[in-house]
Symmetry: C2
């Protein structure tokens, strides 16, 4: 259930922030997977979209997107190459790389069409997932150039910003890694057209950056993780999951009061970082805690000073990680002032490859 | 990717175990959500199916299932009642209840058709999720009877069996709770037709039980949780996720060797109990550890004495919780002796309500 007014405000706030700083916005569409929201982002000034997979790129290009960055170190075999080649005939396509082998495989598979695809070299800014370290950028760039690919620049994702107290340090790490990588690429004789950074927590800090563009995703909806990281406010939450109380347990000796609602990991997703207070939050009861989650049950411990909801009562749950929740449904309901105004198809749901 | 020979062996082993003990098998179809597997389970002697939602019941009844237990304390409004009424015209339908209010609401919404639906009263055997405690069974049963519902028996789910060292204790708790609940229901003058128990970990223990039927789900596939609970063996894993190495990092000072494969929480699900060794296991590398998971990346720490896989290499990942993995795809590939032999639609994927 998406509140369209909150969504529109979130889209405009991020767009304005980047516009004011002279940065390009290339929002990550894996968060929403939805044509209607991509259109709103592009209308608000986004230069293009970011996606994670070729499948997502296909969906958004089919929907009219003309400039897509697949921010992922794809391993491109001949089958993938056919799909990339097809995409590049109708849109500007960039892809991530983080290894000599990956660049070589991509170039070999694309053959004579390698030059139709731009690549950005991923650098590790502290998240220690994919990405090369400073000093390895030029090696990968040269392999890509030899393979006929078009070198566009560098990118990073400061995923370690998803920890309380870390967004500022992660933003500094991100800026430093991008600076070093861009300098290394320039020293190796390449034209650095794009320096692309992450993430919702760091983008909203509005610090100094060498980046030319940012790729936040979650900012359009917010979620319980962003709330607990203090990177969004309660009234900036645009997406909630409608649930019903199905089981209710008043305090017994030794037990806390609890209710069970009919939303579980198959609708909320089950991401739960160690620092999170639970498996999501209740939109109207900030002191309630979702202490356990199974596929169709969320167990909620209820604060002592508040009446326990009645059986059959409707409650709105804020998922911990909204990208997972969107990927679990084929359709979302869109509300305005509490009334249903539209339904949107989650067009790229499940497009994992 | 499902290995059909392993699947068939798993289906037959559970069926034989229950047959030999004179127990009815009513497998939980939320695990697979697939007509082809439901048919195999019924052909192997299952008396019917268990599901979690009305939507799942609708899919399986449409596929020909004639006897369904929705093992969930549904809150039944008039819309749900219409759907249950429709189902009951073509199949035998039972539903869980765990409160006077829930039973009353269901009876009121069904009106004159209340008698077409059987109910089983859920008891809490130690999982502390939904379910009543001993002593409350007769109260709920009387409310259901007054509402015109057909009382069929009692059920429980010993979810606390999903902890290392707990399956035996949980099975004992389950048996004790079912004994007490059945005795209480009989004392209140009701005919106890069914005493229905869980779960894959407890069902495979083959202990003494008062249950008349069991509702295991995961046993057909196994998963990394069941492996680590020692409730299935490596060669009993029927479902794996095919992945490709996309990023590779040999040891650096202070860092462990790691690879990244292109399977994340959007294909594996992100359930990770505190006792698990990681976010799933590698089918062919038992010493590798999936230490981090994002939407499209699994970060894998590699054991020291084994060569780090090459970029582009294919690896099979065993998800932690297979029910979540199935719910993320529209289709599965079926293999035999390593060759593709079929594709099955995950017909009830996303049917959360």
């Amino acid at each position: 259930m998406i509140d369209i007014d909150v969504l529109d405000r979130n889209i405009e706030r991020m767009a304005a922030s980047l516009r004011n700083r002279g940065l390009k916005l290339r929002p990550h569409a894996k968060t929403h997977k939805t044509h209607e929201i991509a259109s709103k982002q592009l209308a608000a000034g986004a230069v293009g979209l970011t996606v994670a997979t070729i499948g997502e790129a296909e969906v958004f290009v089919e929907g009219g997107a003309s400039d897509i960055f697949i921010a992922y170190p794809l391993w491109v075999d001949t089958h993938h190459a056919d799909r990339l080649r097809q995409l590049a005939t109708v849109a500007t396509i960039a892809v991530g790389i983080d290894s000599v082998e990956g660049a070589t495989a991509m170039g070999r598979s694309l053959g004579a069409d390698a030059g139709s695809i731009s690549v950005l070299i991923e650098v590790d800014s502290g998240h220690h997932r994919s990405g090369v370290l400073p000093g390895e950028v030029s090696l990968v760039a040269r392999a890509a150039a030899v393979s006929g690919l078009n070198i566009a620049g560098v990118f990073t994702f400061p995923g370690h910003s998803y920890t309380p107290g870390m967004p500022l340090a992660a933003a500094n790490n991100e800026n430093e890694a991008l600076s070093l990588a861009a300098a290394e690429l320039a020293s190796a004789g390449f034209d650095v057209k794009e320096i692309s950074g992450g993430s919702t927590p760091t983008a909203l800090l509005e610090g100094e950056t060498v980046a030319t563009e940012l790729r936040p995703g979650v900012y359009i909806f917010g979620d319980a993780q962003q709330l607990e990281l203090e990177r969004c406010a309660w009234d900036e939450i645009a997406l909630t999951v409608a649930t019903t109380v199905v089981s209710r347990h008043e305090a017994r000796s030794g037990n806390v009061r609890r209710i069970v609602v009919d939303a579980g990991s198959k609708i909320l997703g089950s991401d739960r970082p160690g620092w999170a207070t639970g498996y999501g939050r209740l939109a109207d009861y900030p002191d309630a805690r979702i202490t356990a989650l199974s596929e169709h049950h969320a167990t909620i411990e209820w604060p002592e000073n508040t009446d326990l909801p009645m059986l059959g009562q409707r409650l709105r749950v804020i998922p911990n990680h909204v990208c997972l929740a969107m990927n679990l449904v084929d359709e979302v309901t869109v509300v305005q002032d509490g009334s249903l105004v539209d339904r949107w198809s989650v067009a790229a749901r499940g497009r994992n490859s």
